[in-house]
Amino acid sequence: MPAFINPTVVAHLVLIFVVMNMLVLSSAFMVWMERKVCAYIQDRVGPNRVGYEGALQPFADVLKLLFKEELRPKAADAFLFAIAPILSTVAALAAFSVVPFGTETTLFGLLSEPLRLEVADVNVAVLVIFAITSMGVYGIVLAGWSSNSKYSLLGGLRSSAQMISYELSYGLALASVVMLAGSLSLREIVMNQSGYWFHVIPKWYLFLQPLGFLIYLTAGVAETNRAPFDFPEAEQELVAGYHTEYSSMSFGLFFLAEYVNMVTVSAVATSLYLGGWLGPLLPDWLAWVWFMVKVLAILFFYVWMRWTLPRYRYDQLMEFGWKWLLPAAVLNLVATAALVIWLG
Amino acid sequence: MISLNHYLVLSGVLFAIGTAGVFLRRNLITILLSIEIMLNAVNLTFVAVGRYLGTVDGQVITFFVMTVAAAEAAVGLALVIALFRHRETLSPDAFTLLKW
């Protein structure tokens, strides 16, 4: 074996490959889960023809999308039109790269030094996630603009205005957790949540910051343009949204980006508030199973909310974000600061 | 090997490009963008010298410069909107007379 084929480097590359594929597969899984859960909430069965209980339905959908014609209107800007879905997808996938999903492992002694189960281990991980999700706004803005249609433009502007408004509360909720943990690294925040109170209640930040958790989830739902904050998307049932002019795989890329964003928000929520991969009973090298369970719980909550709650009208949505959520987030931050100083 | 001079040269070149943009472009928004380029060049100088001196003050100053740049961009764009509403054009040559 040549000297540069280092087992550690190979392990890292395999890890990156696995994470990328898991994200894309989880998006496909979310399509299936959404349709099944929606069906059962509406007292019907949902897809059950393709594969066992319709599990292959998302793949059938993707195949159908791939065979559609790739339309492009005589748009204002061909380059921006092509690059908008790419920007959305890249931002969505890149944001997951700093999220840790398990403890260190040496793959049962194959590696000389332990491999951390995350793509990149930076000590400003929380800020990196915030930065990359704020880059995701550009995909939507450019999609709305380059479609060269008034309705697309308005839909794109509304959607991006909503996203940047809710980013403030998102950031303040993050700041409260960072104050509690004293570190910006997601791995350290999770490790700070290990242990139990009274041997029964896990030391999750959910119990120390209930309001913060609610604020974070609400802001996360609004960031990913999901119900009940999906007026700019649902607008297309009435008029048109930012991705009306897109067809075939570009359209598919926008939905991939949306589902991967949901997975990222859920993953960050479990790391910050639900104790990440920490859990009883399982050995260390299976800790990522707990992580997956917690992420799936939050994703189920996402889907459940979509098919239960009516959606906010756009002005109600903006009013809620600025007049209610932002003061609540500031209050949470001040209360957390007081708590940290008082308890030392 | 990269020395402090390399970073200062790069910063100087970026600043000159920003200045050229302010002189040469006849579009209000592009002039504001060139001002942002100049502010960025200054930020790079601060961080590079902070790294050389081994203090954290360089990054602290860039934090404040970024905040000031945000405030100035907001007010500048508000002015551009108000001007556009009056003359329907973004060229600074339309605003040469003192008559409103």
Binding site: V122, V124, L127, V128, S134, M135, Y138, L142, W145, S160, A161, I164, E167 | M1, S3, N5, L8, V9, L10, G12, V13, A16, I17, T19, F23, R25, R26, N27, I29, T30, L33, S34, I37, N40, N43, L44, V47, R51, Y52, G54, V56, D57, Q59, V60, F63, M66, T67, A70, A71, A73, A74, L77, A78, L79, V80, I81, A82, F84, L90, S91
Partner: protein
């Protein structure tokens, strides 16, 4: 040619080329997108300078907020290509002098810096850990530079109110 040097030249080249594109493009939309690329390259340079906090703040504030503001204004004002573009050498007198002055400025800075001896960065790991630690930056902002921090927050408030008042319709 270690990673540091390659990184500096790559990011530096991207920053300079993107900035040239910003002042050269006719369409303001393309100028804004090229400026975002330039900001990304600068963030890469900050990481090479052991300043991860500055790099991330650059992306969050500049590329994530200020440029979105610029994009909104460009789209709402429908700022299509004006009949200006960067004039070539055959431009009117004022443009020629402006371009000449900018080139002179760049030349002067480069000449002055090349006359000095090369100043190398220190590589002491303790100092590097000191610089790149976010808690140190927070400590400096809230203790040594607390006055500047408070004044900056008032500045932001003033600019917010001012922007809303200026851009309002009618009086």
């Amino acid at each position: 040619m270690d990673l540091n040097s390659i990184g500096f030249f790559v990011f530096g080249a991207v920053a300079v080329l993107a900035s040239l594109g910003v002042i050269g493009q006719r369409n303001p939309m393309h100028s804004v997108m090229l400026l975002i690329v330039s900001f990304g390259a600068l963030a890469g340079l900050y990481i090479l300078l052991d300043a991860p906090f500055s790099a991330v703040t650059q992306i969050i504030i500049y590329a994530g907020a200020i440029m979105v503001l610029f994009l909104f204004v460009v789209m709402l004002l429908n700022a299509h290509t004006e009949a200006d573009s960067v004039p070539a050498i055959l431009g009117p007198r004022g443009m020629q002098i402006g371009a000449l002055l900018s080139i002179l400025l760049a030349g002067e800075i480069v000449w002055g810096l090349s006359r000095l001896g090369l100043t190398w960065f220190g590589n002491d790991p303790a100092t590097i850990a000191n610089i790149s630690s976010v808690s140190r930056i927070g400590l400096a902002i809230f203790t040594t530079h607390a006055f500047a921090f408070e004044v900056t927050s008032i500045l932001i408030l003033v600019s917010m109110v001012g922007a809303v008042v200026i851009a309002r319709r009618g009086h």
